[in-house]
């Protein structure tokens, strides 16, 4: 039997494994598929019974993959379905995120594996909201999110710390599962169908912290952009087409950090913020990401002289920050983020080549009261980083 999914020409061949067909249909209940009798051709994505389990081949697998259960087989086949679908839909960018509809807008939580996307997606469903996905959302050219129609998949056993209401909801909505994974069986009202679209309303970065009361904090738009740049499946997209739609998105939607322990409490907090026109923008003090290990080595001798920006970079502003995209083939794909003060220094060097110390002196004038020694050290470190990244070059060894 071959399964042909809407939007994907490459069929999946399943050899006499009706329990896998059933699990697959239940794992992706919103994605239309049709079945046809296999012909004599070979099928790149192929699953058959072997021993007590199954075996699968795929162009994405270096060798055949043994699989123990029907639920895991469905999971593995979906891991082939999604990238092949996106490959055939060049106008769609796959984002690695959970997503749910609040009002008429989507809240997206782009995160890495095991960060809580699936649990929070399930919590949105539990709270009565429509889930667009727990792992992948397609973003179209207009900046709208498009559901794929795949049910949330939770790791089991669920942590004992989860609220009883949540655990009961999961138990009452058991879909295909085994001793490691559990798909949720959601109704058409709870799970968006394949192709359903909605505008993005907010980007939420997740931080689970045991025992913490739910807290929603505003982040800089650049934080959201950076997260989206890291959590997408457009691996073969050039930097500019990849960055442009995400940058436009981050210009119009807020980015928040959600710290929480109880996912249902977290949902309430996000929903409340989504309902307020100003979101959580009124909360005090913006925030910033800092790399814990970012202290660059500063070679005082190498930093001497005046510096100017190198060519081959396109600066894209987002709020007070700049995202620098390489336009050079040899630096293809390089993207750097300059925070507001670094962006100011970049503008300054575009105005006139300067040394690090004179630049620091200007910053001290701009921020009177900040210790000059601290500003000088910060500025030297930035110059070293800019030089290392190929963003600036020395034009004179004289100050």
């Amino acid at each position: 039997m071959d399964i042909v999914w809407q939007g994907m020409s490459l069929p999946m061949r399943l050899d006499a494994v009706p329990e896998v067909e059933e699990a697959l249909a239940a794992a992706a209940p919103g994605w239309p598929q049709r079945r046809r009798v296999s012909d004599a051709s070979t099928a790149p994505i192929h699953l058959w019974r072997r021993g007590d389990g199954y075996c699968q081949t795929s162009p994405a697998l270096s060798r055949s993959l043994p699989i123990p259960t029907a639920a895991s087989a469905a999971c593995s086949l979906l891991a082939d379905l999604i990238p092949n679908f996106l490959l055939e839909q060049p106008d769609l960018m796959g984002l690695h995120c959970g997503s749910a509809l609040v009002g008429k807008r989507l809240v997206l939580f782009p995160e890495a594996h095991r960060a809580g996307k699936s649990t929070l997606s399930a919590a949105f469903a539990c709270a009565g909201y429509r889930v667009f996905g727990d792992d992948v959302l397609a973003l179209d050219a207009a900046g709208e999110g498009m559901a794929l129609g795949i049910a949330p998949r939770l790791r089991v056993p669920l942590p004992a710390s989860l609220p009883a209401a949540f655990s009961a909801y999961v138990e009452a909505h058991r879909g295909p599962g085994d001793d490691r994974y559990q798909y949720l069986s959601l109704s058409a009202a709870q799970l968006a169908r394949h192709g359903e679209r909605a505008p993005v309303g907010a980007i939420v970065l997740l931080e689970r912290e045991p025992g913490a009361a739910a807290e929603l904090l505003p982040l800089a738009p650049g934080d959201g952009l950076l997260q989206l740049l890291c959590q997408n499946f457009a691996a073969d997209w050039p930097a500019e087409p990849l960055l442009a739609p995400l940058l436009e998105l981050m210009k119009r939607v807020p980015c928040w950090l959600l710290r929480y322990a109880d996912p249902l409490e977290a949902v309430d907090m996000v929903v409340e913020a989504m309902r307020q026109p100003a979101g959580v923008a009124a909360l005090p003090a913006s925030s910033r990401w800092q790399v814990a290990h970012s202290a660059a080595e500063v070679d005082e001798v190498a930093l001497a002289g005046r510096w100017r920006p190198t060519t081959g970079w396109r600066a894209r502003p987002l709020g007070d920050e700049l995202f620098m995209i390489s336009t050079l083939a040899e630096r293809a794909g390089e993207v750097h983020r300059l925070n507001p003060v670094a962006a100011g220094i970049w503008r300054l060097l575009n105005c006139e080549p300067l040394g690090a110390d004179e630049t620091a002196g200007l910053l001290v004038e701009a921020f009177p009261g900040v210790p000059a020694r601290r500003v000088a050290a910060d500025t030297r470190r930035l110059f070293a980083e800019l030089s290392r990244a190929g963003l600036i070059q020395r034009i004179s060894s004289q100050p």
Binding site: D80, P83, S294, C351, L363, A389
Partner: protein, 95 residues
């Protein structure tokens, strides 16, 4: 350089070149000094390896170490390229 040198803002105001440079900085909308930073997208992997620190309203929080991007042994060849850390479509990770 002394702790607060230079602090004479009149020097800047009286010097057309420095006035021009201060204008070029364009930091009028930035309320408080924050150390200038460059963050390269390739550092994303380091986030996940070492964690990052977030500072909100003067409070510093280390974000929890995330799950790694490491693939299971049979996982698909790659959805990554050198300078980006990218997610993969996860298959069950061990049997």
């Amino acid at each position: 350089m002394s702790e607060h040198e230079p602090t004479d803002s009149r020097k800047g105001l009286n010097d057309p070149r420095r006035r021009k440079l201060l204008a070029a900085l364009g930091l009028g909308g930035v309320a408080a000094y924050v150390a200038p930073t460059l963050f390269s997208l390739g550092q994303a992997q380091a986030w996940h390896d070492e964690g990052i620190v977030i500072e909100i309203g003067g409070r510093r929080h280390r974000r929890q170490r995330r799950g790694s991007y490491s693939r299971p042994s049979y996982s698909r060849p790659s959805y990554s390229r050198p300078s980006y850390s990218r997610p993969s479509y996860s298959r069950p990770s061990r049997w």
